[in-house]
């Protein structure tokens, strides 16, 4: 499964990077969303993938019954997803402002800080 995931994540990365290299501001946002998805999946895969072993402890026991998936990685991804969203909200507002300045969906209009 990890092998397959490696290719899938690679594909997501490629799509994200391609979008970020476009001149359109909107495409840039889409690229960002794809990128955060790819990154989360990557961490998830790196921690090892197990089917049907949720990190839960059954009622009445002190430790899980048998092995479970890595809970720390899951906690990490949860954090990453939420932060990713915060960052995205921020990005969208920022981009909207930038758009108001240049009035075109074109990053290349934004090179005012060039010498």
């Amino acid at each position: 499964m990890e092998t397959l995931m490696a290719f899938a994540v690679g594909g997501l990365y490629a799509a994200a990077i391609y979008m970020m290299l476009r001149r359109s501001i909107v495409k840039l946002v889409i690229g960002l969303v794809l990128l955060s998805n790819a990154a989360n999946l990557l961490i998830f895969t790196a921690a090892g993938m197990d089917r049907g072993l949720p990190p839960l402890i059954p009622e009445g026991m002190l430790v899980p019954d048998g092995p479970v998936a890595d809970p720390l990685a899951q906690a990490l991804i949860l954090t990453a997803i939420v932060i990713g969203f915060g960052v995205l909200a921020f990005a969208v507002v920022l981009i909207h402002r930038a758009y108001e300045v240049v009035r075109a969906d074109d990053m290349d209009q934004m090179k005012d800080t060039d010498t």
Binding site: L32, A46, L94, R97, A98, V102, T113
Partner: protein, 480 residues
């Protein structure tokens, strides 16, 4: 590892800053624009209070809390106090600037305080995740501050670039950390280091990849070549008061995370990151110093100068000795002081409707104000590393550290490009002292700004004559 109620003592300064930042955010809503000084005063109080708390809680031994994800030691105490003081100076310089441009808003200070909080977390984090959170906290504050001036197209654009590139860099850093987690099974810096020391596996490929990604992320945040492109655009585009903030305190936090990540965490891989840092340092010195010459905008010039200083800081770190780390720390502290003065001078010369951003705006400053021309002269000499300013000892310490580990070629390289760099600092001096002023207006500014800027400038030479104190602070903070 046993579980217990976390010890809150070491995080009291953080909690204080957090509480005050939230309080100021709320209070500011009820403060009319005419009385914005309340917000300003509270922000300064927060910083001073945090400094008092940090100093009061400081102790020579290292304290851990929150399951060893948080550390308080000599390094963190020193850097935090430096961050408070520099930020307080930044706030003070910013006030007249913001007032003149009708953007004297509470949000500037609230965001600034959140940025300070982010830096405090970065400085004290001892776990990858905590460190990353601190970094994001700081970065988000900075992005928002750059975009702060609504009228400026440049600022929005700069914020945009900064944000996108910053997000990529954060991603790389995070990725590097997650590979490390994959290999070592831990996010705690101490345990990662223990693993690397004990595992006889030594160097394996994924470890080097992890290292590469961590270094790319760090290099971006510090602005080392070839991850530096955001620096000039952001320094130039941001309101000068924000440039002042970005250009000073975050470098201290950046040094802290390098120390935590590379030295404490990945210290056993020193041999590998030494090579990578050498390349970054060499490129930063070369590009920073050479490109600065072509700049006519002084903010851009200082941006490139920052890049070259980052090269020096990296040189201290890559030496990999106690002397080297102490030298890097000393250099960074000095840099923050000097850069605060430099950007402060730009603010001093600016006024409503006029940004003294161009080198030409400094023409004949000696005739307009001999005193501040002298202050600027000290700042420029310090950046060029000319004694008896403190910038000299910073360069000296780094060069010594590098020569001690037998990297003479690097020292000579650094010196050659410092000579190139001296050219543009000295050009600024020449413009102030030898050219005729284009703008004859006097420099009316708030008294507090003038006094603090003078102290800032004189500090450059006082510390230059008596560098012992700062040097021993730096050495003391490194000897753990």
């Amino acid at each position: 590892m046993t579980f217990e109620i976390p010890d809150f003592m070491p995080v009291i300064p953080e909690l204080f800053v957090l509480g005050m930042a939230c309080a100021i955010l709320v209070i500011d809503l009820f403060v009319p624009q005419a009385r914005r000084d309340i917000t300003y005063g509270l922000s300064q109080f927060t910083l001073i209070g945090a400094a008092v708390l940090t100093i009061a809680l400081a102790s020579p031994e290292t304290r851990f809390t929150f399951n060893d994800t948080f550390i308080a030691d000599g390094l963190s105490d020193l850097l935090k106090v430096a961050v408070y003081l520099i930020t307080a100076v930044v706030f003070l310089y910013s006030r007249p600037y913001l007032q003149d441009r009708d953007i004297y808003k509470g949000e500037y200070y609230v965001l600034g305080l959140f940025g300070v909080l982010g830096m405090m977390i970065m400085i004290s984090s001892y776990s990858f995740l905590t460190l990353y959170l601190g970094l994001e906290l700081l970065s988000l504050s900075l992005y928002a501050m750059v975009a702060f001036n609504r009228d400026s197209a440049r600022a929005s654009e700069a914020a945009m670039k900064y944000f996108i590139l910053g997000a990529i860099a954060s991603g790389m850093l995070l990725y590097g950390m997650s590979i490390l987690y994959g290999i070592t099974g831990s996010l705690d810096i101490k345990e990662v280091s223990d693993y690397l020391i004990t595992s006889s596996a030594g160097l394996n490929v994924p470890l080097v990849f992890a290292l590469s990604f961590v270094i790319v992320g760090l290099a971006f945040k510090l602005g080392a070549v070839p991850f530096h492109m955001w620096v000039p655009d952001v320094y130039h585009g941001a309101p000068t008061s924000v440039t002042l903030f970005i250009g000073t305190a975050p470098k201290l936090a950046g040094l802290a995370i390098i120390m935590r990540l590379l030295v404490d965490g990945l210290g056993p891989l020193h041999h590998d990151w030494q090579g990578m840092l050498t390349i970054l340092a060499v490129l930063s010195l070369a590009v920073g110093n050479v490109v600065a010459i072509a700049q006519t905008n002084i903010k851009r010039m200082l941006a490139y100068s920052t890049i070259s200083h980052v090269g020096f800081i990296l040189m201290g770190i890559l030496a990999g000795t106690h002397e080297g780390y102490a030298a890097a720390l000393f250099y960074t502290l000095v840099y923050a002081i000097v850069a605060a003065g430099g950007f402060g001078m730009i603010i001093l010369l600016s006024r409503r409707g006029f940004e003294a951003e161009n080198l030409d705006d400094f023409r004949g400053l000696n005739e307009r104000s001999p005193w501040f021309a002298f202050i600027m002269l000290l700042i420029m000499f310090s950046m060029a590393g000319v004694p008896p300013t403190v910038g000299f000892y910073a360069k000296l310490a780094v060069l010594q550290a590098v020569v001690q580990v037998d990297m003479i070629w690097l020292a000579i390289f650094a010196v050659i490009f410092s000579i190139v760099g001296a050219f543009y600092y000295l050009r600024a001096v020449k413009i102030m002292y030898f050219d005729k002023p284009e703008d004859e207006s006097p420099l009316p500014k708030a008294l507090d700004m003038n006094v603090v800027l003078s102290i800032n400038g004189l500090l450059v030479i006082v510390l230059g004559i008596f560098p012992g104190l700062l040097m021993s602070l730096a050495t003391g903070a490194i000897s753990w």
